[in-house]
Subunit: 206 residues, 2 copies
């Protein structure tokens, strides 16, 4: 029982460290957030950090996992049911409202880390890629259902990836401009494409 209580306490401490690291990396960038900053923000000792994480790399990978879970949790009420234009628009509205609430700060919790680590840290890049894949699959499920019903002209795999890509561009450009408009228009364009029963026009056509 003592062991069990210690384990629960240990999990809580580990989680506090990861959440502090996620917040600092979000605010200061991955490179500038030091283990000492994390230690102070989490209110733990240096030996406690090293008990859970061998080094900053291990902590960074835990942050990417944590942020992936947070992103999927936040969107969970929508992600499983993106199988009508109305549901896609409701998801889009939720994403836009969320950025307004954040004053367009921080960008995508995993995409912004991805951009920082892509050329210097292959292991972290792959962890972000893995997070993207989970997100893409959750979006794809609804489009596959639309396609099976005959309501989608086009490839649901391509259009699911296009939605996530538009969302990533929208979060980045909203962060740079401190304005949700890039996010709104990019998601609207892809959702309008999904809603176009006619599908793409032929090459050179208008």
């Amino acid at each position: 029982m003592t062991a069990k209580r210690l384990t629960a306490k240990g999990e809580a401490t580990r989680r506090r460290i990861v959440e502090a690291a996620a917040q600092l990396m979000y605010e200061q960038g991955v490179t500038d957030a030091t283990l000492e900053d994390v230690r102070a923000a989490a209110g733990v000792s240096g030996s406690q950090i090293y008990h859970y994480f061998a080094d900053k790399q291990a902590l960074l990978l835990a942050v990417i996992d944590h942020q992936t879970e947070a992103v999927l949790d936040l969107q969970a009420p929508h992600l499983g049911r993106l199988d009508t234009i109305g549901e896609l628009r409701a998801w889009r509205d939720m994403l836009v409202e969320n950025q307004k609430r954040m004053q367009c700060r921080g960008g995508c919790p995993i995409g912004s880390i991805g951009s920082q680590v892509a050329e210097t840290n292959p292991e972290a890049r792959l962890a972000v890629a893995s997070g993207y894949l989970r997100w893409e699959q959750a979006i794809r499920a609804g489009l596959t259902a639309m396609h099976a019903r005959g309501d989608l002209a086009g490839n649901p795999e391509d259009l699911a990836l296009a939605l996530l890509t538009a969302l990533q561009g929208g979060l980045l450009m909203a962060q740079i401009h401190r304005d949700v408009r890039p996010l709104e228009v990019a998601l609207d364009a892809v959702i309008d494409r999904i809603g176009s029963a006619r599908g793409p026009v032929p090459e050179g056509g208008q």
Copy 2:
């Protein structure tokens, strides 16, 4: 005449410093690329760097300007004439080929800097925003011409921003996945939307 020759030489030296800094920031990230790295890569003395740039911030702003020019120069054969679906597809193909040639490394030359500096360096964030606006305006010109001809159902300003946003997401996700597919499908989706003379479907419609 001597003064003139010195000025030309000075401009060449300044340019060499900016190009070395751009390359290092692209490879290592903005924070990790030190002035000493830039000095060594450019083959100049420390006093030469400080002759042209008061500090790393001044150099970073020059890099953002330089990369904006490079991006616009690379796309110049396309950007002035994006007023048909065929021209939009040719631009899309050029962007995809360029990423293939780069093996999807580096992401967008200005977007990747933007993501790194957005929360910590407002002046650099605004410089990236300014680069985005120039790019967006160049894209918008063609769509405005399409709209004036009656060939575009939708707002050309929104769709120009949607194209740039899809491109930004595509470059980021191509960089993370080391695969051009996100770039391809996101640009295709927005171009298909632009080519859909019917425009968006009403709320709840299919």
